[in-house]
C-alpha cells in the first residue's frame, strides 16, 4: 500500500516536473490587388480581295489573344483606336467575340463572355467583352487566357472602297471593379 502511494506520487511529480512555456509571434499579412494583362499580336491576315470575302465577313480567331492575371474579379473592355492609312474605316463593321482560351488553365468560374459585340469607334465608350466575378487563379494556375474572334466587314461594306490597307488598333483594357 505504501509503495503504491509512493509510485503514484512519483508519477504525478514527473508530470508536474514537465515545465512548459509559451510565446507567440504575429504574422501580419496584407493582401493587395495584383493585376497583369497582356495582348499578343495574332498571326492572321485579314484582307478583302476575294468575292467571297466581300460577300461575307472575314472571320479570324486570335488564339490565346488576351491573358489576365488578377487577384480578384475583373472586366475586359474593348474600343477602336484611331485608324491609320488611307483605306476604308471600320466603324460599326467589326464585331468581337470572347471565348475561353485554347490553353487556358485559370479559373473559369464566374466568367461571362460576350459574343458579336460591335467594336465602338475611337470616340465612343469601350464595350464590355469579358466579365470575371472571381480571381483568375485556379489552384496552381494563375492566368486566364481568352481567344478573340473578330468578324470584320459586312456584306459589300468594302466593295467600292480604296484598296489600300488600313490599320485599325483595337484597344483592350482591364479593370478590377
Amino acid at each position: 500500500m505504501r509503495k503504491g502511494l509512493i509510485l503514484i506520487v512519483f508519477i504525478i511529480s514527473s508530470f508536474i516536473g514537465r515545465t512548459t512555456q509559451a510565446q507567440s509571434a504575429n504574422m501580419s499579412i496584407t493582401l493587395l490587388d495584383a493585376l497583369s494583362f497582356t495582348i499578343n499580336e495574332p498571326i492572321f491576315l485579314a484582307n478583302s480581295q476575294s468575292d467571297d470575302k466581300n460577300d461575307n465577313q472575314i472571320r479570324a480567331i486570335a488564339s490565346d489573344h488576351i491573358c489576365v492575371v488578377s487577384s480578384r474579379g475583373y472586366v475586359v473592355k474593348a474600343i477602336s483606336g484611331e485608324r491609320s492609312g488611307s483605306g476604308p474605316g471600320i466603324d460599326g463593321l467589326v464585331q468581337v467575340s470572347s471565348l475561353i482560351g485554347t490553353t487556358n488553365k485559370g479559373n473559369t468560374i464566374g466568367l461571362v463572355l460576350k459574343s458579336d459585340v460591335v467594336l465602338p469607334p475611337a470616340n465612343g465608350s469601350a464595350v464590355t467583352l469579358i466579365t470575371a466575378s472571381n480571381s483568375s487563379w485556379n489552384g496552381k494556375f494563375s492566368a486566364n487566357k481568352f481567344d478573340i474572334a473578330y468578324k470584320i466587314g459586312n456584306k459589300y461594306a468594302y466593295i467600292d472602297k480604296n484598296a489600300t490597307p488600313s490599320t485599325i488598333p483595337v484597344i483592350f483594357s482591364v479593370i478590377q471593379p
Partner: protein
C-alpha cells in the same frame, strides 16, 4: 626520580596533544529544471501580397534567431496558430514552418532534430512539433540554443481572390522539457 616522572608526564602530554579529530559537512546540491524561452517579433513577418509572383509562389520570410531556448535538459518546441483576424479569414494551414539552427547559436547542437515545411495547425487543433532536442541546450559555457524559422506564407495562389486588407495569424510556440 623526579626527572623521570617529569619526562614521562611530558611525553604523555605530547602524545595526548597529537590526537586528531574528524568532522564532516555535507554540501546538499539539488539540481532542478531550468527552462527559459523567448520568441522574437521580426519585421520579416510583416508581408504584402501585391504581385502575381507573390500570389503564385507565396512569400518566404526568414526570422533569424527567432526562437531562444535555455534548458537544463532535453526539450520539444511546438507551434500552433492563435486566433486569426482579418477580412480574408486566412487559413493557418497556408503557412509552413521550417526551423534551422540559429545564425548566432552557440549552444549545444547535438541531438537536435528539425521539422521541415511543418503545416501550422489551426487554433484548437494539435500543436505541431517543430524542434526536438534530446539534450540540454548547454555546451560548455554557452547555455543558449537559438533557432531560425523560415515561414512560407500563402503559396500556390491560396490567397488570390480573397478580400484585400490586413490579416494577422498569430503563431503560438510552446516549449516542454522532456
Amino acid at each position: 626520580m623526579k626527572k623521570i616522572i617529569f619526562l614521562i608526564a611530558f611525553i604523555t602530554v605530547s602524545i595526548i596533544s597529537n590526537i586528531s579529530f574528524a568532522q564532516t559537512a555535507n554540501a546538499n546540491i539539488t539540481l532542478s529544471d531550468v527552462l527559459s524561452f523567448s520568441v522574437s517579433q521580426p519585421s520579416a513577418l510583416d508581408v504584402n501580397f501585391d504581385t502575381e509572383a507573390k500570389y503564385n509562389n507565396g512569400i518566404t520570410s526568414l526570422a533569424t534567431d527567432h526562437i531562444t531556448v535555455v534548458s537544463s535538459r532535453g526539450y520539444v518546441v511546438k507551434a500552433i496558430a492563435g486566433t486569426v483576424s482579418g477580412a480574408a479569414a486566412l487559413a493557418p494551414g497556408s503557412v509552413k514552418l521550417t526551423p534551422a539552427i540559429g545564425a548566432s547559436n552557440a549552444g549545444n547542437t547535438a541531438g537536435i532534430t528539425y521539422g521541415s515545411a511543418v503545416t501550422l495547425p489551426v487554433s484548437g487543433g494539435t500543436a505541431a512539433t517543430v524542434i526536438t532536442a534530446t539534450n540540454t541546450s548547454w555546451t560548455g559555457n554557452n547555455s543558449t540554443n537559438k533557432f531560425n524559422v523560415s515561414y512560407l506564407i500563402g503559396a500556390g495562389g491560396t490567397y488570390a481572390g480573397k478580400a484585400t486588407g490586413l490579416n494577422v495569424i498569430p503563431v503560438v510556440y510552446t516549449v516542454t522539457q522532456q
